[in-house]
Symmetry: C2
Subunit: 358 residues, 2 copies
Amino acid sequence: VRISVLGVGLIGGSIGLASREWLEDAEVVGFGRSAERLDRARELGAIDRGTTDLSEAVAGADVCFACGPVGVLPGLVEQALAGAPADCVVTDVGSTKRSIVEATADERFVGGHPIAGAETAGVEHARADLFQGATWYLTPAERSSGLLYERLHRVIVAFGARPVAIDAETHDRLLAAVSHLPHVLANVLVAQAATMLGEEGEALPRVGPSFRDATRVAGANTDMWTDIYVANAEAIAEEVEETIGRLQTVVNALRAGDAAALSGWNDGAREDRRRLLEADLAGGPVHELVVPVPNRPGIVAQLALALGRAGVNIVDMALAPAPDMSSGAITLWIAGDDAAERARAVVDQLDFGDRQPS
Amino acid sequence: VRISVLGVGLIGGSIGLASREWLEDAEVVGFGRSAERLDRARELGAIDRGTTDLSEAVAGADVCFACGPVGVLPGLVEQALAGAPADCVVTDVGSTKRSIVEATADERFVGGHPIAGAETAGVEHARADLFQGATWYLTPAERSSGLLYERLHRVIVAFGARPVAIDAETHDRLLAAVSHLPHVLANVLVAQAATMLGEEGEALPRVGPSFRDATRVAGANTDMWTDIYVANAEAIAEEVEETIGRLQTVVNALRAGDAAALSGWNDGAREDRRRLLEADLAGGPVHELVVPVPNRPGIVAQLALALGRAGVNIVDMALAPAPDMSSGAITLWIAGDDAAERARAVVDQLDFGDRQPS
């Protein structure tokens, strides 16, 4: 299998290392603008060979990963699609998805976003196991090829990651709420504390662990985050506005001295956090589920999205078209007894419109 | 020295243990409503003896620590002052200070707030070294006795803590900004994420480390935090309102797609956090500084507050009244070359009004 990695930094380099470690007969071709950095990536074992010619990098590729700052990804993906073979799946690793998915009509494109490794940049920190256990969002569009989606899914599972299908808009709203908004609040918190402590003269602030934790991500990599803020501006703005509304409610309870409201609000937050964090610890025995489906575009996306919404972790999947190509079956492997039951219920309720009686 | 500890939980128990470990000839008397819990505290070595009679607990005490939830402290301090000897210093450990300081006119009272150990409650988790290296705010009022303040300061230094003098109102605003506000934002973040994920069906949220860090304190102990929110309501409300204003600015930059403004804001946050956290790492060789002062109420508070504002860490202090009691000297030990220089500058600029030519 030939893997093309466009941009060989922390993520691209780790994809290269993981491919060479976990995929059978993998050949990894790296693209970059600096021949020197490509050499370094090769020395570190992240790529088999490097090239500064993008067409050469994608020629003959089976899977192409566009890795780079959110701001350059649309151009990179467009060029990759222009040069890649007709049966190559092209994906990206950007942390916002709606704009790139909307801009790309090609059936070979599936948006992606691995939740891994923002702390350190550079191919020097790349690791074959960077994605072990990590969530890897995939945002297939209706037009996305099911066969190519399946191939990408398999590769990501081989990396040790957990692929989660989600539509691009929900992804961006979700990330706005659980990642971008915390960054905004961290930035605001430190700026506000710094201003206040500035007013109080040169006093050393004795900040406690709660402040350190709450502001750990303040002022994260500016190039990367400016791209994210711009690419996901509307979803983030909406989340921030909702936060403003919630904060105003808190102000009102404080000014009213409403102890009961404050207690209930605090209890609710504890319960919310417990549920949010516990939900992530699902697992258990793996079940196999075979789903007969009509062979038309959009089926894989429809199924994967429905299961993603139901919180089902698809450990692995396989597509098997019938000989006449008019119908087929998707085999899904699901982790956990409860998840498998939920998956069955989801599948039973799905209306494929043109499903044959079986 | 006789130490009275009113309320023997995590903080009170640790004060007892630290007193018995680090103070010479310490006798620790514990007060509580439950004889059983007092027995437990005695078994653990946190107190020498316990009583359910508050007057008995404070009789003959040199230093009295009122330890309990913010809501009960005003009553506890009032009773302690009513029963304690004329030369006993009474302090509390509550995390808001303005209301209790304003309510207490007694010269024997000095408000206090050790920044330590909110994670686990109960005397079972008490440790003699709980305060090692911890900031311990002291909020002397003008009426506070300098001699009694000095005694309390020494005891806290003996515990291994760093006493920092600060006026009660500034303390509450500071804590609102660096502790209470992060708790408010954490609560709002989890509630907002939970609502959004609820709308998206039963989807498992794949929350990242930034969300975990930012919400670590969400839904902290409700009894304790409701007390804090009520006691410091106005300062917290003002900080939250400032946050709302700052968030609105971010929304405007997002909607305008103003990449330059977002970049600058993010860079500023990184710089702010670096400064805030580095400021806490001061240290160095200890210098001695002798300050001649008139012997009148308020001098110690004035000096300690001025040095606190200048970010000077007073490692130890001693008061030496002149034989005729009309004047005296305060000896200060300051950690760090820079801090000692700042302390000298502060002292030179202080106007004691009635200072004698020396």
